[in-house]
């Protein structure tokens, strides 16, 4: 096939360098498909899911602990079976994935914005600005992500009332995850910015009298986006896992609301008693989601990192 003649955008994308790397790696293709499928299912949860797990009145305890539909004793209405409250596991997983993806996407976006801004400042100006920002980054990187998240959760609990905390639970997790991710972005951006600022094109821009903000935004930013994109993708997986971990510990999404972590925590209580579907399917969903995100991150790194070419 001739690259110049490709009729539409998708074909052109597939024919590009990145597209070639994508096509030539079956693992990446599968990961991409799984990722698109899961994100699609999560976004369309209200349309696809046969039940609404937020509607407490629709949950019937009589339906509790049903095995998946294909097992004996299963009910076709509940494809993956039900949990100990009688919630449809399939619907709850869909909504839980939605929460996970939402938390992941928003927290990574926040972290990227903050990391880009502070990293550019540190890298471009250097000196005292650099020292202050990078010491904050250093200090923060000594805390594991989960510890930062626990800290934020504890602090917000102390000044928010319980109802407020429940309502804001998702945003507390987002804040916590964003806070634990931004230092990595800032560090990478700073390093790239330091390299770029001594390049001729930046000096040229300085010579013609462009201000530092414009130079950072117009000239340096586009050239540091590559590594940031890779870090962002990998951290999407980290943020999704972080949300699940917090909910698993009972600190994230309020009990009774759908979340993969909460489902896994409940399923964990039934690990000895034979109702294994309550642990397996939410766990599998989480694993697949994070794995596909990570594989896509690897592909992006291969494409964007000139050294690995």
């Amino acid at each position: 096939m001739n690259p110049e003649r490709s009729p539409n955008l998708i074909m052109r994308l597939l024919d590009s360098d990145a597209g070639y790397k994508f096509r030539s790696s079956p693992v990446t293709v599968v990961a991409g498909l799984v990722f698109v499928l899961m994100i699609g299912a999560a976004l369309l949860a209200p349309v696809i899911a046969p039940f609404d797990p937020f509607d407490k009145g629709s949950i019937d305890l009589m339906n509790s602990l049903l095995p998946p539909a294909w097992n004996s004793g299963g009910d076709p209405a509940f494809l993956l079976g039900t949990d100990n409250q009688g919630r449809d596991l399939f619907s709850t997983i869909l909504y839980g994935t939605r929460t996970s993806v939402f938390v992941g996407a928003v927290s990574v976006s926040l972290a990227v914005v903050a990391g880009l801004f502070l990293g550019l400042l540190a890298g471009y100006f250097g000196g005292l600005v650099d020292a202050i920002i990078m010491r904050i980054v250093d200090i923060q990187m000594t805390f594991p992500a989960i510890m930062v998240a626990l800290l934020i959760d504890g602090v917000t609990r102390s000044f928010l009332s319980r109802d407020q905390h429940d309502e804001l639970a998702v945003f507390v997790i987002i804040l916590a995850m964003a806070l634990s991710i931004w230092p990595q972005v800032a560090r990478t951006v700073r390093a790239s910015a330091m390299v770029e600022k001594s390049r001729e094109y930046v000096m040229a821009a300085q010579v013609i009298g462009r201000g530092p903000w414009l130079i950072m935004a117009r000239h340096i930013l586009p050239n540091v986006m590559g590594p940031v994109l890779v870090i962002a993708t990998i951290n999407l997986g980290v943020a999704i896992l972080g949300e699940a971990t917090l909910s698993f510990l009972g600190l994230g999404i309020p009990a009774g609301e759908p979340s993969l972590g909460t489902l896994i925590r409940i399923g964990n209580d039934f690990i000895f008693s034979g109702e294994r579907w309550m642990l397996i399917y939410p766990g599998l969903t989480l694993a697949l989601l994070v794995l596909s995100v990570n594989l896509l991150g690897d592909w992006l790194r291969d494409v964007l990192d000139p050294k690995s070419r």
Partner: protein
């Protein structure tokens, strides 16, 4: 099927073992949460006071069949209906070696009624305690009380010299004011504290100078207690032989433990009644957003809540039949229990009618406080109740927390709940204490408000009545029951009181669960109906 109660055969064979001959036997056990405090007057909670009962002792104690046995008192007599005489045991020493005498009883009687003690109802505030001589103590009450000592099995005696030397003041619930007694102990019991890391591990060893040496079967010399909040982890640790005793085993894992060659289940009905408490005294129902309104003050709304809960399904699905549905706030086996009381039938349609009559056809919202590591399947029951209430339009927002945070939210002084799930074990195994603590009006005197913030320290009657249920008729009956010495008349009064409280829908009783203890093969325990784990009856075979 599990062994319901331990046979006397086991007891006999265990007694034959010589504790001294069998080296160091360690009992490693785990439960859901940690004990609240080492101070025996700070929090009245079954697990904490039961744990401390192995370290401290009262004048009396309960045998495995819950009958009253002499402990630090050898015998007692009633000189007149208001005058009790207790003869103390003479060969008793505290763990620091100080001999025990009447002065310690007087100190304990003062301290248990002072400050923020959670055990104030053990002894009337106007009762006089007099040391006749070093080993004789008189209790003189203003009103006769034939069951005065029934609740004393967990009123533990503390040592005056030790307390004063270490600056131990009054009991205080606030964690910020930790006294020496919160982390140290000086009891007279068979076990003494070696080390304690709150929330992590507590280690104890046998106290060699214990007066009761040889009178009980135990051969345990070391005890390691670890709180393990996750039930699956607890069961796994038992099955892999890392623990000797775990409690509770969640109902879904009982079959697994029974099938395992290394484990067994010891189970029996509990005397603890699980119930839902409804906030009937706050002017604004917590979490409702109804400024100045509390729907739960209306009896019809309380009945609507009661009828909306399908207990049979909870019983079958969550508790897997291992519980006894309850219509009363006391269990079978407690004096004054009667099976003539029946639960309000599950009837969501009637429930909706009642809500409409009361002016809430669209229901209302409130905070439902739940624990996740205090009772058998507590989180699952809570969420199920919340879902069932949603079916009649009531939005009970479940807030599931661990024991410490949960208790802080619902106990005095916060009492921040619309609905909460709790359990009650009457310490005297008599209905009176359930009426007295849970149903009497929680106020300092007749003219003050319920749970008035300034009176919190003065409230003794109704001290656990966080619902703020208040009916003068019950106050009158409870006082009459206390002093009535004729048993038939007394039981008639108790029955009358239960009739009123169930008609008022003061609480929603749920069930008595069947406690299930997971025990490693080769370890002998006595399961008690009040769920207290008495190490005096534990034997460990190597």
């Amino acid at each position: 099927m599990p062994n319901i109660r331990l046979s006397s055969v086991f007891l006999a064979s265990a007694l034959a073992l010589s504790p001294a001959a069998s080296g160091a036997e360690t009992l490693r056990f785990a439960s859901q949460g940690d004990i609240g405090s080492m101070d025996p007057y700070v929090v009245e909670e079954v697990f904490t006071s039961g744990f401390l009962g192995n370290i401290y002792e009262g004048l009396v104690r309960r045998a495995p069949d819950l009958s009253i046995q002499p402990a630090l008192a050898e015998s007692w007599e009633l000189l007149s209906p208001t005058h009790w005489r207790f003869h103390l045991r003479k060969d008793v020493t505290f763990h620091d070696g100080t001999p025990f005498n009447a002065d310690d009883v007087i100190y304990s009687a003062d301290r248990v009624r002072a400050g923020a003690s959670d055990f104030k109802n053990r002894l009337p505030s106007d009762a006089k305690v007099v040391a006749v001589d070093d080993y004789t103590v008189d209790f003189i009450t203003t009103e006769p009380n034939p069951i005065l000592h029934y609740t004393w099995a967990n009123w533990y005696i503390m040592n005056r010299d030790w307390a004063e030397a270490n600056g131990v003041g009054d009991a205080d619930k606030a964690a910020s004011e930790e006294s020496y007694a919160t982390l140290h102990e000086n009891g007279t019991g068979p076990f003494q504290l070696v080390s304690r890391a709150p929330g992590v591990k507590t280690t104890l060893s046998r106290y060699d100078g214990w007066w009761g040496e040889g009178s009980v079967p135990t051969n345990v010399t070391e005890v390691e207690y670890t709180p393990v909040p996750n039930a699956a982890t607890r069961v796994a640790a038992l099955l892999s032989g890392q623990l000797d005793v775990v409690f509770p085993v969640p109902v879904q894992d009982i079959a697994r433990v029974e099938a395992a060659p290394s484990g067994k289940i010891e189970a029996g009905p509990e005397v603890r009644t699980m119930y839902l408490t409804m906030n009937q005294w706050r002017d604004t129902l917590p979490g409702s957003g109804l400024e100045g309104k509390n729907p739960l003050k209306d009896r019809r709304v309380r009945e609507a809540m009661y009828r909306a809960i399908d207990l049979e399904t909870i019983h079958a699905r969550i508790l897997r039949g291992r519980a006894t549905p309850a219509a009363l706030m006391v269990a079978p086996g407690v004096n004054g229990y009667s099976d003539s009381f029946k639960r309000y039938e599950y009837d969501p349609d009637r429930s909706k009618e009642l809500l409409a009559e009361a002016g809430y056809p669209d229901g209302f919202t409130f905070t439902f406080q739940c624990s996740n590591n205090m009772y058998v399947n507590d989180e699952a029951i809570c969420l199920a109740v919340s879902n069932m209430l949603a079916k009649v339009g009531i939005d009970a927002k479940a807030n599931v927390q661990a024991k410490a945070q949960y208790l802080e939210a619902i106990l005095s002084p916060n009492m921040d709940f619309g609905l909460a799930m709790l359990g009650t074990t009457p310490a005297s195994l008599d209905s009176h204490i359930a009426l007295y603590s849970l149903h009497m009006c929680p106020r300092a005197d007749e003219n003050s408000a319920v749970w008035a913030p300034d009176d919190l320290a003065k409230i003794v009657a109704g001290k656990s009545n966080f619902a703020g249920y208040c009916n003068p008729e019950i106050d009158r009956l409870a006082n009459e029951i206390l002093i009535e010495t004729d048993e038939d008349k007394r039981n008639a009064l108790i029955n009358e009181a239960w009739t009123i409280t169930t008609d008022d829908v003061a609480y929603i009783p749920l069930h008595q669960s069947w406690g299930a203890w997971g025990v490693r093969e080769g370890v002998g325990v006595e399961v008690r109906a009040d769920n207290i784990f008495d190490w005096r009856y534990v034997t460990v075979a190597e």
